[in-house]
């Protein structure tokens, strides 16, 4: 058992006091950065990057790995407690996590989220340790048509999970796709919808849109409604979960973990897509889909597990092939290159100790995350008692700083504030903002994969359906779409057209959800 001996060496390296201190501080830093609306773990890793040049390579990688693991979870703390996703990947955690907080079950929601995340992360790290080489060759089988199909599934999922009318969600998503086309097009370098503004040539960043719509929009709404005093949300600590409670959502966690591990290995997809798809699959699979959005534990556990399950497998293409699949792994690649480490097959033979120390660090980080995240979550829970005006001001400052920090560009701050205003009106008119954000994230990816596929396969559209993996994913997307549109289409088919007695279907069957916050 060569691998176990190597892993033992890795654990010895990871538990070396010096490395361990950096791993733990990275983890704490990641959880806090993730939890702060506007500051994502990618920001935190980018800020920490120059600092890691001074550290030995193993310590540097433990530190960044800690921020990554902690940060991917951290975003959920603010999703659950204040309905503002701390990072894009935590968007789905708002949908059932925040309703639980509204019911006074915030502690319960947090502990389910933390254990599901830790389980997903741990499973993924184990897969990284024992299955890296075969998984890497699996990843290489994926070409542009498969990536395209995966983004289509992500886009369709967002309609399928709509709590509001699916047509409204679709409309919101198409708006997002439109916003995603702004900027210089990826193939020909032609500026599109830039209105002659040079800053728009770089496109509109999805994190900036998300911060605007959710953080600023939410805060403006909160303050307008309850300016002055009072507590933002009166929450009881709620019952802590025991093992028996977790056992009830075990299949949700397992499904989420499986999806997350698979999606994580695909370059470009990552935690956000994993979480969104896991939520929509769970909504179909668990049998309680009709009550999703009201604070179902299954609806929280699945995307949480999926999101962290992408962390370990996302490292597989990075370490085995030298191909970073996401912004976070790209920063890790930069750190490795600066230290003169060339990720790739040779790394496993030339730097075995380093590789296994990274594996061991990822395993330890996911276990420690339970403790670290509980601690940070407790501190953040006290924020709930801060009057909304003060909390709101704090969030707006963080959002502005975060929007600036995405690309160090002041223009992004204006974009963020503009989307804040849009977000406020969307909230007031019950127009769902989440599909818009997913549209902005996936639209440009989807376009690139589509065009590159066509360039690579002689402009043959059939390639998307004839390649087995891509065909399967697209078929799944079609089923999802039909399933989600059915409730909206059904009444139209049953009723004879132009029947004045029945009127507007929306008025008859109000699927409207209560205005949140």
């Amino acid at each position: 058992m060569d691998i176990l001996a190597n892993l033992a060496g890795g654990f010895a390296g990871a538990l070396d006091p010096y490395n361990f201190v950096f791993l733990v501080s990275g983890l704490m830093l990641g959880v806090v950065a993730g939890a702060l609306p506007g500051i994502s773990f990618v920001n935190a890793m980018a800020i920490a990057l120059p600092f890691t040049y001074l550290l030995p390579p193993v310590t540097a990688m433990s530190f960044l790995g800690g921020i990554y693991v902690g940060g991917v979870f951290g975003g959920s703390i603010s999703s659950i407690l204040i309905n503002i996703p701390g990072t894009p990947a935590s968007l789905p955690s708002c949908w059932d996590g925040y309703p639980m907080t509204r019911k006074g079950l915030s502690s319960r929601a947090l502990s389910i989220a933390i254990t599901a995340s830790a389980f997903g992360g741990l499973a993924s790290a184990l897969l990284l340790t024992f299955g890296a080489p075969p998984f890497a060759s699996f990843a290489l089988k994926f070409d542009q048509p498969e990536f395209f199909a995966a983004t289509i599934l992500g886009l369709v999922s967002v309609i399928a999970i709509a709590k509001d009318a699916p047509l409204m969600s679709a409309l919101s998503m198409f708006l997002g796709l439109l916003i995603g086309t702004v900027g210089v097009d990826p193939m020909y370098g032609m500026p599109r919808l830039t209105l002659g503004v040079p800053d728009l040539e770089s496109g509109i960043n999805f994190t900036v849109v998300m911060i605007g719509l959710f953080a600023i929009g939410e805060v403006v709404d909160l303050i307008c409604k309850r300016a002055g005093g009072g507590r933002s949300i009166t929450t009881k600590p709620g019952k802590q979960v025991g093992l028996s409670d977790l056992w009830r959502v075990k299949s949700s966690i397992l499904r989420g973990t499986g999806l997350g591990c698979t999606i994580g290995v695909i370059p470009g997809a990552g935690a956000t897509v994993g979480a969104v798809i896991a939520y929509s699959v769970e909504k179909q699979a668990c049998g309680k889909g009709d009550r999703f959005g009201t604070g179902m534990e299954e609806g929280l556990a699945a995307p949480e597990a999926a999101k962290n399950a992408t962390t370990g497998t996302a490292m597989i293409p990075l370490l085995t092939l030298g191909i970073p699949g996401s912004a976070a792994t790209a920063i890790m690649l930069a750190a490795m290159l600066i230290h003169g480490l060339n990720p790739g097959p040779l790394l496993f033979t030339s730097n075995t100790t380093l590789v296994y120390t990274i594996f061991a660090s990822m395993l330890i980080a996911n276990l420690l995350m339970i403790v670290a995240a509980m601690g940070v979550a407790r501190v953040f829970s006290t924020l709930m008692r801060v009057p909304p005006a003060i909390l709101g001001a704090f969030i707006i400052v963080l959002s502005v700083v975060g929007a600036y920090g995405v690309r160090n560009n002041l223009f992004d701050v204006y974009v963020c504030l503009a989307f804040g205003i849009v977000g406020y009106f969307m909230k007031r008119t019950n127009f769902p903002p989440a599909p818009l954000v997913v549209g902005v994230i996936l639209g440009p990816l989807c376009e690139r994969y589509f065009l590159t596929s066509l360039a690579n396969y002689e402009g043959n559209m059939a390639v998307f359906f004839t390649r087995p993996i891509s065909g399967t994913i697209l078929a799944l997307s079609a089923i999802f779409l039909a399933w989600s549109m059915w409730p909206a289409v059904k009444p139209l088919l049953r009723r004879p057209p132009n029947d004045p007695t029945h009127g507007d279907p929306a008025a008859k069957e109000p699927p409207r959800r209560v205005l949140k916050a």
Binding site: L49, P50, Y53, A139, L140, K141, F142, D143, Q144, G183, V184, P186, M187, Y188, G189, P191, P198, E201, S202, I223, C224, A227, P267, G268, P317, L321, G322, I323, P324, A327, A330, I331, L333, A334, L337, I338, N342, P343, G344, P345, G392, A393, I396, V397, V400, V401, R407, N408, N409, L410, V413, L417, R448, T452, A455, N456, Y457, E458, G459, N460
Partner: protein, 329 residues
């Protein structure tokens, strides 16, 4: 609402303060405060690594901190706009690379070669064509013969249309070697595609695929230059094969806005010269196959950039009819 508006204003103002209040330092004690180094591409890319190595090695010579800031987007033009809009006082230095210059030639951005002063030519490297280790093609001749017999069937992964990559492939097409350009905007996907067998070859500079060259996953078959690359003595140069396309190097410079006081440019240039001569930099540039043999003065660098701009413009005009309106595939 009013209170909220005030909060917003305060937040924005707090953020703006450090940006707007750039205090004009006296020329004689330059540099007296940190010099911002703007990497015009994202973390982990070639321009970013150059900026970070330069900042790290130049700090002891200039005796001020040199924080690196990534401002990516629009082929580097987002960061270059930032360089140009900051005061021309030598406290903002940006990376300016061949890709951005060729984007100007193709009509992107508003900058021109004369808008900058080039502190130093830091890195330079020709591009090469690689095939995967399992490829049936051992040499460029075999590759070209197959392309001739099967026009457009061979697919080459590139960074986009209208780039140096595209120009080179169009040139090959004009020489009877028609191949299909498959653009990948993300470098990681571009590298994965030939290794995964989804494309037949890839056009790239050697430093960016160094790990795949070391592991043997990619094999160079031709270097687009007038002579062979000293690190790849067995790979034929395009000139030997009768291809006249050795004039599109991937250079990386450090630039400041035109109008920066010459004595400050000189101080930066001297620091860059010391960095280029240091053993650390020599290792770095050898690892990335980007060493610049002789020190280039700011004036020479400007001439090289202008010549490159004109070359790219010339090629784009020559292949213009084929670029406009072409659909992928």
């Amino acid at each position: 609402m009013l209170r909220n508006a005030l909060t917003l204003t305060a937040a924005v103002a707090a953020l703006l303060t450090p940006v707007l209040s750039s205090d004009p330092a006296r020329a004689d004690d330059y540099p007296s405060r940190p010099i911002e180094v703007i990497a015009t591409f994202g973390a982990g890319g070639g321009a970013d690594l150059m900026a970070r190595q330069f900042a790290r090695l130049a700090e002891p010579h200039l005796r001020v901190a040199m924080p690196v800031v990534n401002v990516s987007g629009a082929s580097g033009n987002a960061g270059l706009t930032r360089v140009l809009t900051n005061p021309a006082d030598g406290y903002t230095v940006g990376t300016l690379i061949a890709l951005s210059v060729s984007s100007w030639a193709s009509g992107l951005g508003t900058a021109k070669p004369d808008d900058f002063v080039y502190v130093a030519m830091m890195q330079n490297s020709p591009s090469m064509l690689y095939v995967s280790k399992n490829s049936p093609f051992k040499t460029y001749e075999e590759f070209a013969a197959h392309a001739k017999a099967n026009p457009g069937k061979l697919r080459v992964a590139t960074s986009g249309y209208g780039t140096q990559d595209d120009i080179t492939l169009k040139y090959l097409g004009s020489q009877g070697v028609p191949v299909t350009n498959v653009p990948f905007a993300r470098p990681s996907e571009r590298y994965a595609s030939p290794i995964g067998g989804h494309t037949d070859a890839i056009y790239e500079e050697p430093g960016d695929v160094a790990q795949f060259l070391k592991s043997g996953d990619l094999r160079p078959i031709v270097v687009f230059d007038k002579q062979r690359h000293p690190s790849f003595p067995d790979v034929p140069a395009s000139a030997e094969l009768g291809l006249d396309i050795g004039d599109l190097p991937n250079f990386r410079t450090l630039a400041v806005p035109a109008g920066t006081p010459p004595e400050r440019v000189q101080k930066l240039h001297e620091a860059a010269a010391k960095v280029l001569a240091s053993p650390e930099w020599k290792t770095f540039c050898a690892d990335t196959f980007t060493c610049v043999d002789t020190l280039v003065t700011p004036d020479q660098a400007k001439e090289e950039v202008k010549a490159f701009y004109e070359t790219v413009k010339g090629y784009l005009d020559r292949f213009a009819t084929k670029t406009v309106g072409q659909t992928p595939g």
